[in-house]
Each structure stands twice: as C-alpha cells, then as structure tokens.
C-alpha cells in the first residue's frame, strides 16, 4: 500500500485495484468525521477518488433507501450494478472501492499519525449535538424556504453540477426566446475564487443558526468554472486558514443543513 495524498480532508490510499479513503480527523486516536461529513459523503469521496485515479466500470454499492437519490445525483457518471467488477465498502469513518477479488481488508486501514487532523473533543461533540438538534423534527422552517421538493428537483445541478446548454448553471426554466432549455454537460468540480467573505454567526441565515456559533461563522465564496458559469458555495469542514482571490478549489459533497427532519446535501469548496 502507498499512502499517496490527502484529499478533501481525507487520507487517500491508492493501490492498483483499490482506492481507500479514511477521514483524517481524529479525537485522540479515534477517527471521526469532519464537521460536515458523514458515511454517505465519505463514500462519495471514495468513488470520486477512484475515478480521479483512472478507474472506471460498474460498481456494487450497498445503499440505504434515503441515500439513493443523493448518491445518483452526486455521481452521474457511475454505473451501479449488482455483481459488478468492483465493490464499494464502508468502514468506520472511511470507505473503499476495490476490485471484487482484491481481498483487501479495508477495516484494517488506519491513518498515520503525521497525517491526522486533531480536533478538540468538546468541539467535535458540540457539532454532533448541533447536527442532532438540527435534524430533529422540532427544527422546522419559519415560513418561506427551500422546500424538500425544490431541493430534490435541484439535486442533479446541486450535487452533480449538471448545467443546461450554454452552459448555464444552475439551469433555468425557459430561454429568452421562449424555448425549452436543453440539457448540457456537468461542470468540472475544480473552480477559481472570484470573491469571498467570512460572516459572523449573527449574520448567517437562520438555517445555520445552530451550528454557525460553534463554527465561528461561515465562509462563503463566489467561484468561477472554466466552462464559464459561476456559483456560490460554502467552504467545507470549517474555515480556510488563508484564502485569496484566484485560489483554486475543489468541490466536494458535504452536509449543508437539516430542517423539517430532512438532511440537505450540496457541494462545498475545499482548497486544492
């Protein structure tokens, strides 16, 4: 095995027929998820890393019912198939994609100490408690908001970065000439910072009212894609130490917020 890079807050191990990702975040010796990550996002991280390293082909993935639409929207290029040549595994705060016959013991993977990101136990507990509170059915919207239906209808654009012909992202409902928009390609997941800001907790939308004080606010960025469109995204898993206009970032799938008992996911930025 060769531990060859960090990616999206994960330690990434790539061998000939396997890609393994494991969260770099640790409380003491215990591996934990990044503040915005969970089992689903790390599985998506693993499959994106797998593709990034030149692998392709159908994959067998064991998914919960609630994950299926999010998973399909996040990885539009992936063919999920029972009895496929490759299998996606999950293990504690990590995931792996291996050739079916590789025999790799993914549960034995641990992150070397020099690559670990150490997090404070109280801060980690506070974030987990905040997510639990946010996901509770008592945490309801106060009125006009992004409904579950609107969120689901936008999943392909939000998670898969699907644009309409032009390219225009996010897609519109009708063209200036009255015509119906045509589907385009997905935007690349790499982008450039056009502008950024860090909002204090009191300045954040009410959807983030529970977690923003723990995180010390939110960092938002306008990003420009090489295909032309721009978008606005949160920074993933906390705040960047340093950020500048024209920095390059990668978009990864992370939790955004929960409301009305439903967890919403989206792409967030992390510096390359």
């Amino acid at each position: 095995m060769i531990l060859n890079e960090m990616m999206a807050g994960n330690a990434l191990i790539s061998i000939e027929e396997a890609v393994v990702v494991a969260s770099a975040f640790h409380v003491g010796d215990r591996r934990v998820h990044a503040p915005d990550a969970d089992d689903l996002t790390i599985l998506i991280d693993a499959l994106e890393a797998w593709r990034h390293h030149g692998h392709e082909g159908p994959v067998e993935v064991d998914l919960h019912e609630s994950e299926r639409s999010l998973f399909a929207a996040s990885l539009p290029w992936l063919t999920v198939k029972e009895g496929a040549d490759h299998v996606a595994h999950r293990f504690q705060c990590g995931a792996a994609v291996t050739a079916r016959e590789s025999g790799l013991d993914v549960d034995a993977v641990s992150v070397p100490s020099d690559l670990r990101i150490s997090v404070d136990a109280d801060a980690h507990a506070a974030i987990n408690t905040a997510w639990s509170t946010e996901m509770g059915t008592a945490n309801v919207s106060q009125g006009a908001y992004v409904s579950g239906q609107v969120h689901d209808l936008g999943l392909k654009a939000r998670l898969g970065m699907l644009a309409q012909a032009g390219p225009i992202w996010p897609p519109r409902g009708s063209m200036a000439d009255g015509g119906e928009p045509q589907h385009g390609a997905c935007l690349s997941m790499a982008a450039r910072v056009v502008s950024w800001t860090r909002l204090i907790a009191a300045g954040c939308p009410s959807e983030f009212a529970i977690r923003a004080p723990i995180l010390g606010g939110l960092t938002s960025m306008i990003l420009s894609f090489e295909e032309g469109p721009s978008g606005v995204f949160l920074y993933a898993d906390g705040h960047p130490n340093d950020v500048n206009i024209d920095d390059e970032v990668l978009l990864i799938v992370r939790r955004v917020y929960a409301q009305d008992g439903v967890l919403r996911y989206g792409r967030k930025a992390i510096r390359l």
Binding site: V146, T197, E207
Partner: protein, 389 residues
C-alpha cells in the same frame, strides 16, 4: 403623456417605534397631507400604491387594503407592491405611470415597514427572504455577505480600500445629525468606524445600515391638479426601472449593478438631465459599498473611481460636487425596507422646496432617488426638478 408632480410628502421618524405598522402608516399619511399647500383629503385620491415587504408576515395578504383603511382611504383602489427594499421605489414608478397615462389625477404613493417587533430569530429569517433562497441562502449568504463579496471584488479590481467605505459611513452619520427623522443621530469618528466589529469580512458594523421601523408617503398629481394645489410642485422629470439576475453569481460583474445603470439611463433620458446636473442625490446605501457602487453606476464618477470619490469627500453636503445622502442615507437615516424609496422622495421634495432646515442643500434645483431591491435584483431611479423646462 401627462406631466406629474409631487405636491405633498411626509414621513415618520425612522427608528425603533412603539407604534404598530398601521399607526406609522397613518402618521406618515397625515404628515404628507399636512404638507400640501391646498386642500386635499385622503378619501378623495384615485389610487394608493403601497410598498412593503410585509416584514414579519403579520399582514402578508391584503396589506394595502388594511393600511388604506387605517389612513382614511377606505374604498380607494389600493395594492401592495413588493420588490424587497425597492418596493416603494417601484410604487413611485407605478403611481407616476397611473397619472402619466391619464388613468388617475391624484394618487398616494408610500411605504411602510415594521421590523423591530420580532425576536432576533424571526428577524434573521425575514432579513434573508429577499435574496436568492435556493442557492445563495444555502451557501450561507444574507445581504451583508453578498455586499461583502462585492466590496472585496471592487478592492481587488479597482484598488479601493476599506478606508474609502469608512469615509462614506462617517459622512452619512454626519449628515444625519441634522435630520430629526434619522434613526442614528450620532457623530461617528473615522477611527471608530474603521475599527468596528466585523460582520461580513471586509464589512464591519459601521458599513451596515440599521433595521428600522418607519413609514413615508407622497401625493402625486397631474399637472393641472398640481397647479391648483401648490405654487411649488416638485416635478417628476424621469422614471427608470430595471431588474437583474437575483443571484450575484449569475451576473457578469460583481462591481457594478446593471439594474442601476439601466434604470438611471432611462430616467436621465426621459428627464433631459445628466448626472452632472444633479444637486441632491439620495442613493441606496444599505451598505457603504452600495453607495460606492451607486456613485459609479449613476455616473457621478467614472467606473472604478467610487473609492476616490468617497475619499475626496465629493458627496459631502454643500462641500462636494453633488450632495449624496444629505439625509443620512440608509446608513444613518435608517432603512425600513418598504418605506425607503418613498422616504428618499420625501427628502428630495423637501430639498427642492427649500424646506430641509439645517440640512438644506444650497440652490437645489434637481434631485434623484435611487432605490435598490436586495443585492441589485431590482432598481428604480427617479429624477425630480423644480421646473418643467
């Protein structure tokens, strides 16, 4: 097209009021009708155009009928116009159009907002609903954030600095000291404004307007009616309006508001005036960077030179080339969302009639109001003059 004039204008003080929305609106309407030189009663107007976001949702539906009744105009055709912070700027345009088209002779245009009777959580929710909810809001942005993104980009492209924004804040606070209707009447030093608490980096507390309660109203009349009511009408010489992408990231530039440029171009062309003719300008400075951008987009200075304009004090009352926000602007006079556009017209009315007291701009002949919705998704610009020539 029928010529249109303002013949009356009034407002409540802006701030934190014990009065309810309906009572503030009634106060503003009474103040407005009291300013009319001739005799005119609220019940005799043809139409009511009311701007409000109905902040808090207390009377979200049929707001205009509810408020018309409380201000002596029961039975008059009334509607609420909602374009976020530009609501009453657009109400002004619709009221003007009703008279200019010959459909009405006298109309009431105004706005009202009650913002400070909510819990902090509810207020935070309502302050965000006029932005792009599906993309910007879920990327953590409220309006301080969107304007902070504009400010940082302007600094990157044009070399403006936060000190330039501080100059705007200090100027507008100084102007508001002479305005009894202003929300924040306090002298703010450069040092204090420069070291305010960061709200959305690079913007600080002193770059942000307050959330205000308040109401404002004007009476518009056709030329024939106006001349019967007063010897000093304030003529609406030009009206322009435009919209733009709701989300900031969809716009080709972060350092200009295309809706402002389009609306201003229309208003200038119709009025026959140019930016260089303006004596009094009330611009939408919900954040100091919004004033910086407005001075460029309205043509008071060249593109990219808004920072220099502010640094050189060119908007100071009776000192600079054109008085910018002589009332204190949104920054210090206050910003009761739906009332702001009408309140700007009230200020121009007083200035062009020489009734602005200690804040009077010398020899004010031509004025402009600039009212922006959200981060620039909508904009209404109006040009006013003391004469029709």
């Amino acid at each position: 097209m029928v010529d249109v004039a303002m013949v009356g204008a009034g407002q409540t003080p802006y701030g934190t009021h014990p009065a309810a929305m309906k009572d503030m609106w009634a106060d503003a309407v009474r103040s407005c009708f009291a300013s009319i030189d001739g005799d005119l009663a609220p019940a005799s107007v043809d139409e009511v155009f009311l701007g409000s976001t109905a902040f808090g949702g207390g009377q979200l539906g049929n707001t205009a009928a509810y408020l018309a009744e409380h201000a002596g105009m029961a039975g008059v055709p009334a509607r609420r116009i909602e374009n976020a912070c530009a609501s009453s700027g657009f109400a002004l345009r619709d009221g003007w159009a009703a008279i200019a088209s010959g459909r009405a002779d006298v109309v009431v245009v105004g706005g009202v907002e009650k913002m400070n009777d909510l819990t902090p959580e509810r207020k935070r929710y309502w302050l965000g609903v006029s932005g792009d909810t599906e993309w910007e809001r879920l990327a953590g942005l409220t309006f301080p954030g969107t304007y902070a993104l504009m400010a940082r980009r302007h600094m990157h492209e044009h070399g403006s600095t936060h000190d330039d924004l501080v100059h705007i804040s200090v100027k507008n606070h100084a102007h508001a000291l002479d305005n009894p209707d202003a929300h924040l009447r306090k002298d703010v030093s450069f040092e204090k404004a420069a070291n305010g608490m960061v709200i959305a980096d690079p913007l600080t507390l002193y770059d942000c307007c307050p959330t205000s309660d308040g109401a404002a109203a004007v009476v518009l009349a056709s030329a024939d009616v106006a001349r019967k009511l007063t010897d000093a009408p304030v003529w609406m010489r030009g009206s322009g309006a435009a919209s733009d992408h709701l989300a900031l990231h969809d716009r080709p530039s972060l350092t200009t508001l295309a809706a402002t440029r389009s609306a201003a171009s229309q208003a200038y062309a119709q009025s026959g005036y140019a930016a260089s003719d303006l004596d009094v300008v009330e611009v939408h400075d919900c954040f100091t960077v919004a004033e910086l951008l407005a001075t460029e987009d309205l043509g008071l200075t060249e593109s990219g030179q808004g920072g220099v304009f502010a640094r050189n004090g060119e908007g100071k009352r009776n000192e600079g080339r054109t008085t910018v926000n002589g009332s204190g602007g949104l920054k210090a006079k206050g910003h009761p969302l739906g009332a702001t556009g009408a309140g700007q017209a009230v200020e121009v009315f007083k200035q062009l009639r020489g009734q602005a007291g200690p804040r009077q701009v010398r020899d004010a002949e031509v004025g402009l109001t600039h009212n922006v919705g959200g981060s620039g998704a909508t904009c209404a610009v109006h040009v006013f003059g003391r004469s029709l020539e």
